[in-house]
């Protein structure tokens, strides 16, 4: 077997022969090799995470018409390492009255909930941690652990601001989980499987973003809300709840939350790329080898991450009642309608050619978008008339 055709299997076989050559039992060697694989994957992800700090700072600088870090190393590339050294040598302050175990466990769980997501990401047909047949539900379950870490951080800090920030963030995460799950069902319906590898494979002919642009959009919006990034970064607010749930964390404990957030954004960019933008498919380029395919997936993840940053640094923060109303009164019904139409068309057009499927799906999505915009227009017209009509009596009563 060629190394370039299946690098993971070849390496594992080589290690296996090496370990058994030392007289190790086969079962133990298997466990060791799996453990080694996990450690290597996690290490690679954390190293990418360090570079994400640099990317984030560079991109936000460009959005704000600045240069960004440019002093330490070429293009400021050494800057994140300087940042990390700073975080490490900072004093680790534990405030009075915190719940020590929970307080220290929260940042670990926060990063953990992101890192376990990489177990199911197919970087190439042969580079995947485990091809779970419930892959998308696993994504939701990992999000549940992230929610738990936030509420643990907020409660254990013994700080009202932290608790309020955690409440807001958790309220957002729980409510936006619903449109996210419904949006995740769209690739499931189209591919006929919840496994990530199956979904990637099924997009060989046609990326799902063309079949369901609204689904891709809903997934992106709910992913941004799940991340707690702008415009949904309600746990922050300098004049009300300061920095939210991680206000009492200093040094590397804060660093873990920050690293977790960046890696989470990158990971959701990756999921966006895999679920709606073809995964490792890119005009036949993936046939050059698994390493090229992995590079394609990482490139798409970076692109998705860039879109999330674009949203973050362009839009302003919205109010919490607007945010919840947007979710429950707009996103949830819309996602359910899109899911039903997609499932219906997919069943009706079973066996039809991919271009007919594309045309009808795309037209159906455009129709839904047009009807939605018309309904919103009508609603806002009614609301505007109400405000303009009732403005007079309110002013009068204020005069009394």
């Amino acid at each position: 077997m060629n190394f370039w055709k299946d690098p993971i299997q070849v390496t594992a076989d080589w290690l296996m022969s090496l370990f058994t050559g030392w007289g190790m039992a086969e079962g133990l060697a298997n466990v060791l090799i799996s453990l080694l694989g996990i450690v290597i994957l996690v290490t690679i992800m954390l190293v990418i995470d360090i570079l994400l700090v640099w990317i984030e700072r560079k991109v936000v600088a460009r959005f704000q018409d600045r240069l960004g870090p440019n002093r330490v190393g070429p293009f400021g590339l050494i800057q994140p390492f300087a940042d990390i050294i700073k975080l490490f040598i900072k004093e680790n302050i534990t405030p009075v009255g915190v719940d020590k175990v929970v307080y220290n466990l929260a940042p670990v769980l926060s990063v953990f909930s992101v890192l376990i997501l990489w177990a199911i990401i197919p970087l190439a047909p042969v580079i995947i941690g485990v091809d779970l047949n419930v892959g998308l539900l696993y994504l939701v379950a990992a999000g549940a652990i992230g929610t738990l870490s936030i509420i643990m951080a907020g409660w254990s800090s013994n700080n009202k601001f932290a608790l309020l920030g955690a409440f807001r963030q958790v309220a957002a995460m729980i409510s936006y989980e619903i449109p996210m799950v419904v949006a995740l069902l769209i690739p499931t319906v189209l591919a006929g499987t919840m496994g990530m590898l199956g979904i990637s494979e099924a997009q060989q002919g046609m990326w799902y973003v063309f079949l369901s642009p609204l689904g891709a959009l809903i997934f992106l919006i709910s992913a941004v809300a799940e991340l707690g990034r702008a415009p949904f970064d309600l746990s922050e607010g300098e004049s009300e709840v300061v920095a939210g749930f991680h206000i009492e964390y200093s040094g590397m404990k804060f660093g873990w939350f920050y690293a977790g957030e960046l890696l989470h954004a990158f990971t959701f960019g990756g999921f966006w790329g895999i679920l709606f933008f073809g995964g490792y498919h890119f005009f036949g380029l993936e046939n050059w080898g698994p390493l090229v395919a992995a590079a394609i997936v990482l490139f798409k993840a970076l692109l998705g991450y860039w879109v999330i940053m674009w949203i973050k640094y362009t839009l302003m923060r919205i109010r919490i009642d607007h945010m919840l109303a947007f979710n429950w009164k707009f996103l949830v019904p819309l996602s359910l309608v899109v899911l039903m139409v997609t499932a219906l068309l997919n069943t009706l057009l079973r066996g039809a050619s991919v271009w007919i499927l594309f045309l009808s799906m795309f037209l159906a999505n455009a129709l839904i978008a047009w009807i939605t915009i018309e309904i919103l227009r009508g609603r806002s017209r009614i609301a505007r008339e109400k405000v303009e009509g009732s403005a007079q009596p309110v002013v009068e009563s204020a005069h009394h």
Binding site: D99, L132, L137, Y138, A144, R319, R379, A383, K386, V387
Partner: protein
């Protein structure tokens, strides 16, 4: 496998004991999360991937978070005082021992108790088998639909309790984009 099962079992039992003995209510809820996570690991060990993931999504993602919310919002003191046992403790101890003994006796008389499970054939998709069973008329479609109706009824009931008709002018006004601040607007108009 056996080692993993033993570790998981010890973790579940220890967490369960901590749930009922912990004085701090939030700690009790977090120990409950640990116990529920252990049960998810058990499901995964039994090759029931779907159940394992659903256990995490529903019990940890929804129910445990709701517990923690409810505890935080209802109690000023998060610490329980007073003795943990009352004078009827021996009745409950007896009941639990009898229940456990009865279950163990019933299971030990079952023929499959000491058999090792047959290997699952490769290519067997448990999730699609479960999905087929849930919607096939000669399997579980009726209980499945009854459960759905029950959940919808619970949802409608929750909305009815939470919906305050005096806050807005009418349900239609409650849907409008200005509804977010309607309670305050309503107060100012009165």
């Amino acid at each position: 496998m056996t080692i993993l099962f033993l570790i998981t079992a010890v973790v579940i039992l220890a967490s369960a004991v901590m749930v009922v003995t912990s004085r701090n209510l939030v700690h009790a809820a977090l120990w409950l999360v640990s116990a529920l996570f252990g049960v998810a690991v058990l499901y995964a060990l039994l090759n029931a991937g779907f159940l394992a993931v659903v256990q995490v999504v529903i019990y940890i993602g929804a129910i445990a978070i709701l517990f923690i919310f409810a505890v935080m919002l209802t109690r000023r003191e998060m610490r329980d005082t007073g003795p943990g046992l009352n004078k009827n403790w021996w009745v409950s101890a007896l009941t639990s021992i009898l229940t456990f003994g009865g279950l163990a006796f019933l299971l030990s008389s079952w023929s499959g108790f000491s058999q090792t499970p047959a290997a699952i054939p490769s290519g067997f998709d448990a999730v699609s088998a479960l999905g087929d069973a849930l919607i096939s008329p000669d399997a579980f479609v009726l209980p499945f639909e009854v459960a759905s109706v029950l959940l919808v009824a619970a949802l409608v009931g929750a909305v009815y309790i939470a919906f305050n008709p005096r806050a807005g002018d009418s349900p239609r006004a409650g849907d409008s984009p200005r509804a977010g601040d309607s309670p305050r607007a309503g107060d100012s108009r009165k």
